[in-house]
Symmetry: C2
């Protein structure tokens, strides 16, 4: 009995949202649990996250960061110490009120983010300039009791890393904030093949408690924006609220300066919506759990299975993450299955191939077939993977370019969004009132004030007063 | 201004408990948070955990296990599905009752362990014999609202891995249960240098919901026992309670068989209490975050610092986890600091050494000094580390041998425990009544029924009836 054929998924042009859900479920990335919004990362989904963790963690450590683990619980009084922060997060936290059968004296929230916990710890361990900087990171899950949830993009519990650093000077802290945004941008572009726009959030969109928030914004295949990573500069606001002080070299007691920065499992949603197609996932080779799958053809013929396994062992030894499927499912089933799973390269090997001393590589994105000599397979797969990695990035960049519009005024913004989906570049005076009006009338939120400014006009697209910044506007996940 | 000298810690012979707390705090493994029993793993403590994770995770994967991530919340009704399980855990869970400002319709507990969540998922994804086995693991923290807590040994929130597997047959599931206990034992002995006794728990001491629990028991320096890892065989009890069924090859609908197994951050407590001394931590080289520290002597002299840094780079290139301390603290301060931190090998390098083309290695446990030629340092350090690793294991084994006693009856057991601390081997009839009486009168709990049986008598030490097993009894952390 063969496993049933891979079911058809909804076409992305018919219903992008449905296509997305079909893909995350049928490629076995995720399963639902009985708690709404708390999802199960299945082995294939978690393996992508492990690859993301491995690369980022190595980079963080290379830059001098150390991993720690803070508690998952924050006492209510601790959460309340920084005013803006508690206002931003208290409405959406999960509260623990009982331990066993006893009511707690003070209720505890499950961390929605851990600034307050790090601050409490800093107050204990930072006394002198010699104790600075502390460059910390942790890999944990956090909880935000969202009303609307969506696989990878918005969970009530999601996995992330949160970096938290504390410095003696403003300059050092700012430098860290910007450095980590660069690390995020490089990672998205080089590993996930997701082009991003680096910029600063407006005050309205910045993190609760931050002085400045920097962001990388990616565009999904459907033209919507995905905030993919943020890096926050806190100044000494938290240090003052938590009474963190250090004796500086000049023997003066001072408040230190802080940052935090995070990326999460929503990146996996980003990968899916940037690169996927109607056959399922398309994974960038650098992050794919399985980079190549060997599918034996006519496996019942003598020597085929053995040759396929031998080839697999050779590819593994060459450093390729490879799998061979010797199950009794048909080759056709296997083709669909690994296309659904977004495996970058399929390696077909049948009796005629073996006779000719070759095999056939099939590239996931364009299904290009290449016959290669068996002695060259490993290097050919690597070459195909490099090409695929670059092609995915370029295709995403082309999509973004094609879907990025410029508008001079609110009418133009409305006209664009009525017909199209994408980024709208428009000038802004800096007033929150105009930002709110653009949101209300054109349905666009400010994505960021990009580093790369460009004068698409001279006055604010909303009020006509002198413009301060060019802003990317969009509809965000 | 130099950092203050490393403070004296309490001697372990004076007060072992106080010595332990001094070590975990002063070697900067842990800090307290404002939630009692929820501790902060500082960089040095977390780095040990990362090394433990790295080794175990590789071993799990080599044996075919895959990592997943289950939610941290369990609805009350889900926790209640398996009767023994809920009775064991419900009294000590933390309950979430509110999300934001709204009261939840059903309260959720923070996982104390995740059998129920895995079962719910299995019921979704296991239909046919082709879906079996599932060999899963996750690295997470869990919460148990304990009344008494102690760094590493008993936290309200602690870090662990929990393996969960599901199989088509009893034999496969039992084989997995025993295999994982062997993995744990090998890891403890070969990496942590902690000798362990493998055995089975009595029914009284087994995991809530398990048919059989296997354990590895280590002896700490003070003679007390540390349960260091457990592996559980569930039979089909959970599968029946959660209605997990699969169609077998014979087309019959059957219940599958399950296991779970876990090791936690309490292992770090085990390392401390097995190997530590009055100068602080002593870390087994295979798990030490810093395997060697280079301390320049007379660092102000020309060329010393440069030579120390050059040596450090060479050691790093040779695969040694090495650090150089070029701070302006005195060599004496550095010696104490890295002894406190349990760094296996200190490398002293001063002007005279440089002149003689040598440096001095100091082994952490016995402070043995060895002058070695600079061209041989890397291999000499590796040799010293191997010797240290073996010496730690042997010393711990000698301690256990010296502190293991045999007793024929309850009076002998009481006489031993009145004067000594250690394991007592005694025969047991298998009745829980005798187990309870031994606990009450001699203060000893059953640690395990060891694989390696030995007839220290013919009748139960408690009731005099025919004995079924030889049991290790002890006082446990």
């Amino acid at each position: 009995m063969e496993k049933k054929m891979v079911e058809q998924i909804t076409s992305m042009d018919v219903d992008f949202a449905k296509w997305y859900t079909d893909v995350v479920i049928k490629s076995e990335l995720i399963d639902y649990s009985s708690v709404r919004g708390c999802l199960i990362l299945r082995p294939y989904g978690y393996a992508i996250w492990e690859n993301i963790q491995k690369e980022l963690d190595a980079k963080f450590k290379e830059l001098g960061h150390e991993n720690v683990a803070m508690p998952m619980f924050i006492p209510e009084s601790l959460l309340q110490k920084e005013k803006d922060h508690v206002e931003g997060f208290a409405p959406e936290v999960a509260w623990v009120t009982h331990g066993g059968s006893e009511k707690l004296q003070e209720r505890l929230c499950v961390r929605p983010t851990s600034e307050t916990l790090f601050c409490e710890h800093y107050a204990n361990v930072v006394q002198s300039w010699r104790d600075l900087p502390k460059l910390y990171n942790q890999w944990v899950s956090v909880v935000r009791w969202e009303k609307t949830t969506r696989p990878f993009l918005r969970h009530r519990e999601f996995y992330w890393q949160e970096g938290h650093t504390i410095h003696a000077t403003v300059e050092e802290a700012m430098q860290e904030t910007l450095q980590m945004l660069d690390v995020y941008a490089d990672f998205c572009e080089n590993y996930l093949a997701m082009p991003v726009i680096k910029g600063q959030k407006t005050d309205k969109e910045k993190f609760a408690g931050a002085e400045k928030t920097y962001t990388i914004e990616a565009m999904m295949h459907d033209g919507k924006a995905l905030q993919s990573g943020t890096s926050h500069y806190f100044g000494d606001g938290f240090a003052r609220a938590f009474e963190i002080q250090f004796t500086d070299k000049d023997n003066q007691l001072k408040h230190p300066f802080q940052t935090s920065w995070g990326m999460s499992t929503r990146l996996i949603g980003g990968i899916i919506m940037t690169h996927g197609d109607d056959n399922g996932l398309v994974l960038p080779p650098r992050i794919a759990p399985i980079q190549a799958v060997v599918v034996p053809i006519a496996m019942h013929k003598p020597g085929v299975r053995e040759k396929a396994e031998e080839l697999t062992a050779a590819l593994k030894a060459a450093g390729i993450r490879v799998k061979v499927d010797v199950s009794d499912n048909s080759p056709g089933w296997k083709f669909s299955e690994y296309e659904m799973k977004g495996v970058p390269v399929r390696v077909e090997l049948g009796p005629k191939d073996i006779e000719a001393g070759q095999c056939v590589l099939v590239r996931r994105d364009n299904r290009e077939k290449i016959a290669v000599k068996l002695e060259n397979v490993a290097e050919e797969i690597k070459r195909v993977m490099d090409e695929l990695q670059a092609a995915l990035f370029n295709r995403a960049l082309e999509n973004r370019t094609a879907r990025t519009y410029a508008a001079k005024d609110l009418d133009e913004m409305k006209a664009i969004t009525a017909e199209k989906s994408g980024f709208v570049k428009a000038m802004w005076c800096g007033d929150e009132e105009c930002e709110l009006k653009i949101k209300e009338e054109a349905g666009l939120s400010s994505r960021c004030i990009p580093y790369e400014q460009e004068a698409v006009g001279e006055v604010c697209a909303c009020c006509g007063k002198p413009a301060k910044h060019m802003v990317y506007w969009g509809v965000a996940y």
